[in-house]
Amino acid sequence: MLFSSYTFLFQFLPATVLAFTAARRHSLRAGIVVLAAASLFFYGAWRPVYLLLLIASIAVNFMLGLSMKDRLRRRAIGTFGVAINLAVLCYFKYTGFILDAVNALSGPQLPFSSIILPLGISFFTFQQIAYLVDIMRGARVESDIVSYTLFVSFFPHLIAGPLVHHAEMIPQFKRGCTGRSAALAARGLAIFAAGLFKKVVIADNLAQFVSPVFAHLDAGGGVTTSWAWLATLAYTLQIYFDFSGYSDMAIGLALLFGIRLPVNFRSPYQATSVIEFWRRWHITLSRFLRDYLYIPLGGNRLGEQRRYTNLMVTMLLGGLWHGAGWNFLVWGGLHGFYLSINHLWRELRGEALGSTAKGLSWVITFFSVVIAWVFFRARTLGGAWQMLGSLFGFEAGSSGYAPPDILRLMDLPVLVGEERLLLVGGATVALALVIALFLPNVPQIFGYREYRRSPERGSFVRWRPNTAWALFTALALSSSLFGMWQRLEFLYFQF
């Protein structure tokens, strides 16, 4: 069930809001039970058999947590639990990749049947690993199964994040303010509308300039430099508006129930360094990788050389977290390399930058991120190299790309001709880039704070529950409703 589907918006969500409101009038706990049940139903609607996997994962980790109350056995049980979680994740996500690699090296083909990747497994597994690790570090064990279930399965973040932390979620379920604030709900509705608009109107309309080009390159074809740049830049913006739109929708939906989720994006393409980019892009994953991988590896405490090794390892594993493939590994490796260079540069030259240097830094950062996206988007390494060649004018490939002469506006086809399609694509990308670079982000517009930490800087546009914002929200919602017939999945569902 996609957030941007009619079934979700007109059946599941109203039913859940009504049931939650009625239950919440009865008691706080009843409200939490309803949300947990609705979340499990939401997951089961995709493929009921995998609901069993989710329930088993929750039950096992909850029991492991309880048994870790015994201080003597805490570390052993915790380590065992982390290993179990990683084993399950590896089985579902990496079996094919590992067997492919083994087959390529050894020759004889090992028997293998393709495994369906359960939705959101990377997210709910990591959240529970964090929970077990934190207990090993002395955090409080959760003894309420309903709160724990809701922490893991809360439907706004279940499928594609934000990656939430037990310490920021579970206390909210036990506070009386949950679901009592119309002010939060109003903000939630407006944030949801903004996210829906970003996904359906911006990201989905950019997809037409991306998918056919990369598919052609992955099949061994070649494209002209102009189409290569259009497709790469369009993807750069598509993935931002798609994923940040999803995160905004998740935040907005959670607010309808009075629950605050962490901010996941803060205008990442405004970043003037790769270090800053990772403080603005998929913030909750960066936080997880920092707290549960980079710092345990030693972080920057064991000398410069070790810091760069740790950065590379962290980013390589971060790449693999996104998917089992060499392309993701290269993408992670590139970002590890960028970060290492960036840290080295800061060591040598310091952080302060003049305005010209800042501009130059932005160009270098943006360009580096765009190049890395090529590996992230291409399905094959060959396709990625082909795209890089095309970007820099080395057109190759078995067949030239024949661009369609049809523009799809919210999936409605309009015949425009090939040349005009390139122009329209360029204008669309430029407009989306202006939005990403110059408009305030959702936390800034909506003054959204997570647990009163990380307050956003004020912006010239600020949401207020007034008529103008009601009209904006209505326009965003109604225009998105038209685009929803495309039924394009969120890009991060595959991870």
């Binding site: 604030s181 119309a182 002010a183 709900a185 109003a186 509705l189 407006a190 049809i406 999936d411 409605l412 086809p413 309009v414 015949l415 529950p465 007034n466 008529t467 914002w469 009601a470 009209l471 929200t473 209505a474 326009l475 919602l477 109604s478 225009s479 409703l481 038209f482 017939w485």
Partner: protein, 322 residues
């Protein structure tokens, strides 16, 4: 005081939520009406699914099978040409899923010379005339286009909104096909237009009876569908050398004698087609069963699998009058 202020803020934001939702509804309805108006304005009679089959007419066939899925999936035009002593390409199958007579009439009007010397054999189904069937997948697009925007919205909103979504999307697709001149310049589909269904549906997927089948649901033969589609059949008569309308059979597992509801509705539907034929001058073939076509030849309650195609085609061709 603080409590009072808090409840005032709560009330104000609750009103904001309500007014935003109402405003969203109003904006959406207005925009939707605008989009329907655009769709009505650019609508062309020949849908995309029919346009891609019209290149088959380049061989100037004199036997054209048209209509809905029971022609698309079960009439082998090549076999029909063989059986009638025609050269290959002299018989073609331009039927498509949920095909309607109005669309065929649209194709005839676009290229009248290609139909003038042909025998057009068009199949129909109850859902084409039954106004009670309003689902998105099968509501005839050219009938929807003949309704005013107000009629469209009052007929299909809110529960049948998918029908209007399909109408808008298919209209844009049809317009695209028209501008790309797919009917004249497109490549010919394989097998002279015949498609095949590979396997039969599972045992638990067969409907128990046909009296309550969705195609006979909310039975009503007095709506715009019946009016426009029967008129289209009549309008086709002078534009083709000969017109035969076929009422294909259902799977043999269904017994008319044991299903009075089906019998009654089906008789009314067949009578509507036969009366129209008598009035306007076209033949009607009401096929209730085909000898040799058994239950095992059926993919579902309506369509045959590959093994049933020659049996059905032979029978149909044998029934056609020259």
């Amino acid at each position: 005081m603080i409590m009072f202020l808090r409840s005032d803020v709560q009330g104000r934001t609750a009103r904001w939520i309500a007014s935003t939702l109402v405003l969203t509804g109003a904006v959406w309805i207005t925009a939707f009406a605008g989009l329907l108006t655009v769709a009505d304005r650019i609508h062309v009679e020949v849908p995309y699914a029919l346009a891609v089959k019209l290149p088959l007419l380049q061989s100037r066939p004199d036997l054209i099978f048209a209509g809905e899925s029971r022609t698309e999936y079960q009439v082998d035009a090549e076999l029909a040409a063989n059986l009638t002593g025609r050269p290959v390409g002299a018989a073609v199958n331009i039927a498509y899923d949920a095909g309607e007579p109005l669309a065929v009439l649209g194709a005839i009007r676009q290229q009248p010379e290609l139909f003038m010397r042909a025998h057009v054999v068009i199949s129909v189904a109850p859902f084409i005339f039954n106004e009670g069937v309003r689902s998105a997948a099968v509501y005839p697009l050219d009938v929807a286009a003949r309704l005013s925007v107000f009629e469209q919205m009052t007929s299909f909103l809110p529960l049948r909104i998918g029908t209007l979504f399909r109408f808008i999307r298919e209209t844009f697709n049809a317009q695209l096909a028209s501008r790309q001149r797919i009917a004249e310049l497109g490549s010919q589909p394989p097998a002279f237009g015949l498609s095949t269904i590979e396997g039969s549906q599972r045992d638990d997927q067969w409907p128990k009876d046909l009296g309550t089948h969705p195609h006979y649901g909310n039975w009503n033969l007095s709506g715009p569908k019946a009016r426009f589609e029967t008129a289209a059949l009549c309008d086709m008569v002078p534009l083709a050398r000969k017109l035969t309308v076929v009422v294909p059979p259902w799977a043999p597992r269904y017994d008319r004698g044991a299903d009075p509801l089906w019998r009654e509705k089906d008789n009314q539907y067949a009578a509507l087609v036969i009366d129209t034929g008598n009035r306007c001058g076209f033949d009607v073939l009401n096929i209730r069963a085909v000898p040799g076509l058994g239950q095992s030849n059926y993919a579902d309650e309506m369509h045959v699998i590959a093994s049933g195609i020659p049996i059905y085609t032979r029978y149909l061709v044998a029934q056609l009058r020259p």
